[in-house]
Assembly symmetry: C2
Homo-oligomer: 277 residues x 2
């Protein structure tokens, strides 16, 4: 039975939102709703306008009978700035500071409402970039990796310090932890990542960047290409071993009284919002 | 400026899908679109019908000027059966069997298209259940926990064997691993979970269920209530220490030739689809 336009609009929105960056053909929608392709084209024009006006994302439409639509999520800078200000306020809390100057962030990285926006914000930087996989380090990078991978609609892979017997053959690299200059080992299941993949590296927290740099060299061992690096928070350090990365917030616990915490927006504005969306 | 109905339907769909199980007031939508509440009510009736017809979820609407709408995602059994059959086919692959009878599943638990459906399927069981948090064990339970927590729109917390210095004060329990009968310790940051929470426990793989049982006792230490347990895959064991759980697939690698793998649907049908949606 032919589906009404109103119902089509609701279902097409759900359908496309759940399949970011995948091309869905006009034919597919025409069959799904038993409707003419010309009607579907009109529906897509409405979706495109509403997605644009509400800052939901870009709906790329390919015209013609063989055409279709591809939804690419993004976040406009106004929403991003508001979100980051929320994060800055949440993290600016002295009770988060732990011995050694570490900062408790696990609660925020366990909140779906925050993770959804983290994913959309980071994906915004890669609207026009082909990415095959997101890589992160166990355990605390996982939520951010999953959030970003969900918006990019690509798999994420988890690098570990302690490879488990349930991972099968692994590839490993040694790396220098940035702050304490210890040599450590990280490994990834061979089967997780096809060789030659284009990889976005993400993590929850970056100080000197040793872990990020280690993951980058691991991508090299898989003959892949690093398309970028993104972290939820960056700390203050005298020397960084990674020069190109995106951070959402900047956290500094090294204040004179040894207890305080200073939080500021990270470099996301200059990394992500270089051109108008 | 007053928003057109077609544009409202698209944006309301996006808005509600991104806020599962939260009540959004008519007033909020009326202001967002500069439209009369009566028009918004008509919109919501369309969404409710389309969500129902397409198996997207339940849109609970509260009538009257003080009313609103709450979107509760679910998955109909036909879609669930199709999804589980897909998983059974994917996992039925001898090359997944690792020494010791372990099964490689990390690739599937790193795919957003699979995780989205895992989340919707497990959330279906708890449509009418109040849940405050999802709990899992590091590292491999995290993707599933995040997927389920996203559909329930509640935080997830990660229990660890090796508590890091960035977690702050922790609560710990000792537990008996089901298969090898070793005593181990698992801990959770005190700050992660408010006391008295209603908790859904999830994990990627369950054999005897020692880890699940350990997490259940940890919930008790936080004076919480376990509302249920769900795993992606269950293995074959002679004795199980957890009696009530939901599994998506059942994996058996203990076949006579020592190499094969037998995969079947888990108990999700009898646990989730007991009443008509």
């Amino acid at each position: 039975m032919k589906t009404r336009r109103a119902d089509r609009l609701v279902d097409m929105t759900d359908y496309l939102l759940n399949r970011p960056r995948k091309l869905v053909s006009l034919t597919h929608f025409a069959e799904r709703y038993d409707s003419a392709k010309s009607s579907i084209s009109e529906d897509l024009a409405i979706l495109k306008r509403a997605f644009h006006e509400r800052g939901i994302g870009l709906l790329e439409t390919l015209p013609g009978a063989a055409g279709g639509a591809r939804f690419v999520p993004y976040m406009l800078q106004a929403e991003a700035d508001e979100f980051i200000n929320e994060l800055v306020t949440e993290v600016s809390d002295e009770t988060r500071v732990l011995p050694g100057g570490y900062v408790f962030l696990s609660d925020l990285l366990g909140r779906p409402d925050i993770l959804r926006r983290v994913g959309r914000l980071i994906a915004t930087q890669y609207i026009n970039t082909e990415i095959d996989a997101v890589m992160t380090a166990a355990t605390k990078g996982v939520p951010m990796a999953q959030a970003v991978a969900t918006e990019l609609n690509v798999p994420f892979v988890i690098v570990r310090n302690d490879s488990k017997i349930t991972e099968g053959p692994t590839m490993s690299v040694n790396y220098l932890t940035g702050s304490s200059k210890r040599v450590e080992k990280m490994e990834l299941s061979r089967r997780s990542l096809p060789t030659g993949s284009r990889v976005l590296v993400v993590d929850d927290f970056m100080k000197a960047g040793g872990t990020i740099k280690g993951m980058m060299s691991l991508v090299g061992e898989f003959e892949g290409t690093v398309v970028g690096a993104a972290v939820f928070a960056e700390g203050r350090v005298s020397e960084r071993v990674v020069d190109k990365y995106t951070s959402l917030i900047h956290v500094d616990t090294l204040t004179s009284d040894g207890n305080g915490i200073t939080v500021a927006p990270g470099n996301y504005q200059s990394e992500i919002y270089t051109t108008e969306l």
